[in-house]
């Protein structure tokens, strides 16, 4: 993998900026907390736009803006930060969604206590997440990966709803236990480097050059896979997600669904596929099967949920199934589909969770049936939700269409049956989306409590627009987004998997 050093430390700056803002929030008085965190996240977002502008798209397979600082000489641990095409789009997703989450919180009525701590948690989680997507050293990656857990744990445990403690513990235990496997995996890969090359290394570039005996490769693959499968989550490791989402505050759900879950799929592509190509090819049918089971099972479960947040959470699981299926089809269109779907799902799920939060702010319930007939009183809100929901369903012109279209296209390269299974999943998603829209907005003739409702406006509307615009952009100008990561995918296919 080629490395291009940057003249200016953009990446570490994007990690430090939110952290510094968090520090300022701690030091200054509580009434400045909102302003500081919005400005901090806003500047980080602008910084990411600058990075997007400066990025050299003609060589998106190489790691650009690369920085390296030695931490532990003895074990060759380096703080190696940089962005290749794949990291770039996830980095952009992180800064965008973090800004949206913080903007949303400004007007979220649920957040009334411990304002300082709340914003600190979200700013820190932004900085850790940028670290996750930008680090090219496995130890640094692992540290950031684990650190993201902490702000989220507190977000759920402190500002959540009724069952918040149960959910927070479930979340923590699930993820923490599973990532111990990751640690074991990282340690053993590094040990393998020691045996083969005579020195320890955790650098991604060094480990790319290793090759493993078949059994060992599969074993390492599975060690990494367990951690990421829980994080993604794939069926049957998914039950923490509906609980965590059901109880998390809105902004927490937004970060969780839009970015935290993507850590799992991003890491699957970066590490599982990248480090163990032979094992990946061997285990491909197994992975695709898990992906398809996830798609169908989760979309099946979605339609019976009454709690709107759990509903969206299950639909998220189903989308993650799409991402994993597409990824492990291991061809050009499949990989492209999986990456664009990561970004697209980030947008749609964030927007749908904000919808749930908006409903809760008005009604103090997540019960879907209680809102029936509300389109009359909140037309703009309904339009926004409809655009998001149709985009999530895979209607052309929305963001998820390209993911689904390319997934079917690449599935068809193997067999019609496979493509048909993916199709069935897509069909179920249409069923639940339409059911949700109908239950939330339509029906009911008599005037109800809803009559006092005001439509969405102000800051909340702006934060929705931050998501709607990219959704439509992907739908109608997909080339803009695909050009970010096409190079990286070509590199993975040609140089790592050697499939072309």
């Amino acid at each position: 993998m080629e490395v291009v050093r940057g003249d200016f430390p953009f990446v570490s700056l994007s990690i430090i900026l939110p952290a510094v803002s968090a520090l300022l929030v701690v030091l200054l008085r509580e009434r400045y907390a909102k302003a500081i965190s919005v400005v901090g996240a806003g500047i980080t977002f602008l910084l990411s736009l600058v990075v997007l502008y400066l990025f050299d798209y003609s060589r998106s397979s190489s790691v650009q803006f690369y920085e390296e600082y030695s931490i532990l000489k003895e074990f060759n641990v380096k703080l190696a930060l940089g962005l290749d095409g794949l990291s770039l789009i996830m980095y952009f997703l992180t800064t965008l969604v973090s800004l949206v989450a913080i903007l949303w919180s400004v007007r979220d009525k649920q957040i009334s206590t411990r304002l300082k701590e709340y914003y600190v948690a979200f700013l820190l989680s932004e900085s850790f997440l940028v670290g996750v997507f930008a680090s090219f050293d496995l130890i640094v990656f692992y540290v950031f990966y684990e650190l993201t857990l902490i702000p989220m744990l507190f977000a759920i445990g402190i500002w959540g709803y009724k069952l918040r403690l149960y959910s927070a513990y479930k979340f923590f235990i699930y993820i923490f236990v599973s990532s111990l496997f990751l640690l074991l995996g990282i340690a053993s890969v590094s040990a393998q480097h020691y045996f083969q090359k005579g020195s320890f290394s955790f650098s991604y570039f060094d480990l790319l050059k290793l090759s493993y005996p078949e059994g060992l490769g599969i074993f390492f693959f599975l060690l990494f896979f367990i951690a990421f499968a829980v994080k993604t989550p794939l069926v049957p490791f998914h039950t923490w997600l509906p609980d965590a989402h059901g109880e998390a505050p809105t902004a927490g759900s937004v970060i969780l669904a839009a970015i935290l879950l993507k850590m799992g799929t991003y890491a699957l592509l970066r590490f599982n596929v990248g480090l163990f190509p032979e094992a990946t090819i061997k285990l491909m049918p197994f992975m695709v099967a898990i992906g398809i089971i996830t798609i169908i099972y989760a979309s099946w479960m979605t339609i019976v949920q009454n709690n709107v947040k759990r509903f969206v959470a299950y639909s998220s699981v189903s989308h993650m199934g799409f991402i994993v299926t597409a990824m492990f089809l291991l061809n050009h269109e499949g990989l492209r589909a999986s990456v664009i779907e990561m970004f697209a799902h980030g947008m749609t799920s964030a927007s749908l969770f904000m919808m749930a939060g908006f409903i809760y702010n008005r009604l103090h319930t997540f019960n879907m049936n209680s809102l029936r007939g509300s389109v009359k009183f909140m037309p703009l809100f309904a339009v926004i939700v409809a655009i998001t929901a149709f985009a999530a369903m895979g209607l052309p012109g929305g963001s998820s269409f390209w993911g689904k279209f390319l997934t079917i296209l690449s599935a068809r390269e193997y067999s019609y049956t496979l493509a048909l299974l993916v199709l069935v999943g897509g069909f179920f998603s249409a069923a639940y989306v339409l059911y949700m829209l109908k239950t939330l907005f339509l029906d009911v003739k008599e005037e109800s409590i809803l009559i006092h409702f005001k439509d969405i406006r102000g800051v909340m509307l702006v934060s929705f627009l931050f998501l709607i615009v990219p959704i439509l952009l992907i739908g109608f100008f997909p080339h803009l987004f695909f050009s970010m990561f096409d190079g990286s995918i070509g590199y993975i296919l040609r140089h790592i998997l050697r499939l072309e």
């Binding site: 039950t239 099946w300 479960m301 339609i303 269109e333 007939g373 037309p379 052309p396 012109g397 279209f405």
Partner: protein, 642 residues
């Protein structure tokens, strides 16, 4: 590039109304939408003129590069597409005008949304008609589905309407996913989605997959055109406002399926098996829907079933190889079907949208003469009576059926008879006979304003004269002109007349009491009315079953198996921890610590004796300590060096 305006006008109207509709008011919104449609019609006429010389292809911009092919946005104007576009925009514009009158009494309740949807609908339909590649067609395909969802569910506080819109979208989704599957199969065969390039490559491509690809594409058409077995949404879609029904059934939406097959006809021709399937499904649907129409009593549903039946006709024609005839029938059908719906809407408006059952009307002809005349013209055209437009297109089709096989021809004739019967049954019950509506309303119905009658008159004229353009149309789109077979023409017209006569004798002269006949034939009528119980099967069986099954799986799978085992292990872990705690911590370690504590306490007392309080003793202890530490350090240094 002028062709782009055909699409741009409705899009522009949609955007204006969607964003500023509330500010500019409902009436202005309606006018904007009408203008959008009208300009689009003018431009499409211009494109017809241009494309008759040579087809025009416009490339707009690149979507996404795939391996070996780049997805683009582009449009293709040949006689087939531009004439269809002209018909679509013409009919749609008239319907838009009419809808200003139809929705008039709802002004002030955000009717601008309705106009925005209408315009979106037209735009999506034009996308289907004019796109030069399959993906573009799919964009329009889904756009039409979305717009119809919004329009059918326009009365969103009525459960009937929202259920119907949900059903329409879900059923369409089944078709759509088959369609996109077909697009992908086509792409893998030809390595391109551009229809011109596909046509160039069809003769040189020998692939068994073409059969599968065309079958899947046809699956999309089945969903969109409401053919068997994805048909139940079509009659239920009548829950929307009547202009929507007219638009849905005349020029857009359901016509899209037929048009798509005709557009890709060279591809379908290379797969004869698929054409057989097309013919069988079309023929069965034509008969099925005609039978269902004979026993329904809802004013709009009868016309809806009639559409389904006529679409079946067109598919049958496509199946037996008469593409030109199918498209011509689509065109004439657009005129007279829109006319019938507008007439029905006029009656419904006269009764303030409260009555729908045909037996609640009666004797309207003297109060609403224009509506009566329009309905009669439309019905005569639908029944295929000489010399109205329906005669020319229908006769051509029945001729083609007989050329293909006697069975198809017979089926066509039977359906022609049923068609004449059911449409005149509706006409006679509504416009003749005693005035049954007196039970419900005091006021006498009256003709609506010019906004509603003028479109009907224009469409009525078109429904009469459109048939004479058969030769020109066939010449333009490159289909062969067929002479009318006299014996077939006479047969089908007389069969139609017999149908009308029976309807007249039963429902006007009452030679046979319709109520008595109904009760005598109740089981059969019920079967027809329930569409051979397919609707019940779908709603009660499939939809409810799906919900039940997923609920059961949720509780067994997620709740019981996965969460159950996790909770169990969590609880087990704690129980074990408690046991271990009791066994180890309390009984072993604590005892040890306790022992340690007591011993150290005792030894502390012992050592306490050392604390003498004398300074020189302390200095001594300090010295000893320093020596010991230094010794250890020296030793350690020594070891390190060595």
């Amino acid at each position: 590039m002028e062709g782009i305006f055909v699409l741009l006008m409705p899009l522009l109207a949609f955007l204006i109304v969607a964003f500023f509709g509330r500010r500019i008011g409902d009436l202005t919104s309606g006018i904007v939408v009408v203008l959008g449609g009208a300009f689009s019609f003018v431009f499409s006429l211009y494109m017809v003129f241009k494309s008759l010389h040579s087809p025009v292809q416009i490339k707009l911009y690149e979507f996404l590069p795939l391996e070996g092919y780049t997805l683009t946005v582009g449009f293709y104007f040949d006689p087939l597409s531009s004439i269809t576009a002209a018909v679509v925009t013409f009919v749609a514009t008239l319907i838009f005008v009419y809808s200003i009158g139809y929705m008039h009494n709802e002004f002030g309740k955000w009717v601008y949304k309705f106009y925005a949807y209408l315009s979106l609908f037209l735009f999506a339909m034009l996308l289907i008609v004019l796109s030069d590649n399959l993906l573009g067609i799919f964009f329009g395909w889904e756009g039409v589905g979305l717009a119809s969802y919004l329009l059918i569910g326009y009365y969103h506080n009525q459960k009937k309407a929202t259920n119907a819109s949900l059903e329409a979208f879900v059923m369409n989704r089944i078709g759509d996913w088959l369609f996109i599957f077909g697009i992908i199969a086509t792409f893998l065969i030809f390595k391109t989605l551009d229809i011109v390039e596909i046509f160039e490559r069809v003769p040189t491509t020998e692939s068994a997959l073409i059969g599968l690809a065309t079958l899947l594409l046809f699956g999309g058409a089945v969903g969109k055109s409401g053919q068997l077995p994805l048909h139940t949404w079509l009659p239920n879609a009548m829950a929307g406002p009547t202009p929507v029904s007219a638009l849905l059934h005349a020029a857009t939406m359901v016509a899209a399926g037929v048009y798509m097959v005709a557009r890709l006809y060279p591809l379908f021709e290379s797969a004869p098996q698929t054409l057989k399937v097309v013919a069988v499904i079309g023929g069965l649907t034509a008969l099925f829907a005609a039978l269902a129409a004979t026993s329904h009593t809802d004013m709009k549903k009868i016309i809806a079933f009639s559409t389904m039946s006529q679409l079946g006709y067109m598919f049958l024609a496509l199946g037996v190889g008469d593409m030109g005839g199918a498209m011509f029938h689509l065109t004439t059908h657009a005129f007279f079907k829109a006319l019938l719906f507008l007439a029905a809407g006029s009656v419904i408006t006269a009764f303030h949208h409260r009555l729908y059952d045909i037996y609640n009307f009666g004797g309207l002809k003297k109060y609403m003469p224009i509506t009566y005349a329009s309905f009669t013209v439309g019905a005569l055209a639908l029944a295929g009576i000489f010399p109205l437009s329906g005669f020319w297109s229908k006769d051509r089709l029945i001729g083609s059926y007989y050329e293909a096989s006697f069975v198809w021809g017979l089926l066509g004739t039977v359906v022609a008879f049923l068609t004449a019967y059911y449409i005149f049954r509706e006409g006679f019950v509504v416009f003749h006979g005693e005035e049954r509506y007196r039970r419900f309303s005091e006021h006498e119905p009256h003709e609506m304003g010019a906004v509603m009658t003028v479109p009907m008159v224009v469409l009525g004229v078109m429904a009469v004269v459109a048939g004479f353009f058969e030769g020109w149309y066939m010449h333009a789109i490159g289909g062969e002109h067929k002479e009318i077979h006299l014996n077939i023409a006479v047969t089908s017209v007389s069969v139609g007349l017999v149908g009308i006569l029976i309807a007249y004798l039963v429902f006007v002269r009452r030679l046979l009491s319709p109520e008595g006949a109904y009760s005598a034939l109740k089981p059969i009528a019920q079967t027809f009315r329930e569409q051979f119980f397919t609707e019940k099967l779908y709603h009660r069986g499939l939809a409810k079953g799906y919900m039940l099954l997923s609920r059961a799986t949720y509780f067994v799978g997620d709740r019981f198996l996965i969460d159950g085992s996790i909770n169990l292990s969590y609880r087990g872990f704690f129980r074990m921890a408690k046991d271990v705690w009791k066994a180890f911590d309390i009984k072993s370690i604590d005892i040890f610590i306790h022992w340690l504590a007591t011993t150290s306490f005792r030894s502390g007392r012992l050592l306490g004796n050392l604390q003498t309080g004398l300074l020189n003793n302390y200095v001594l202890f300090l010295l000893i300590g320093i020596i010991i530490i230094l010794g250890i350090m020296l030793y350690a240094l020594d070891r390190v060096k060595g």
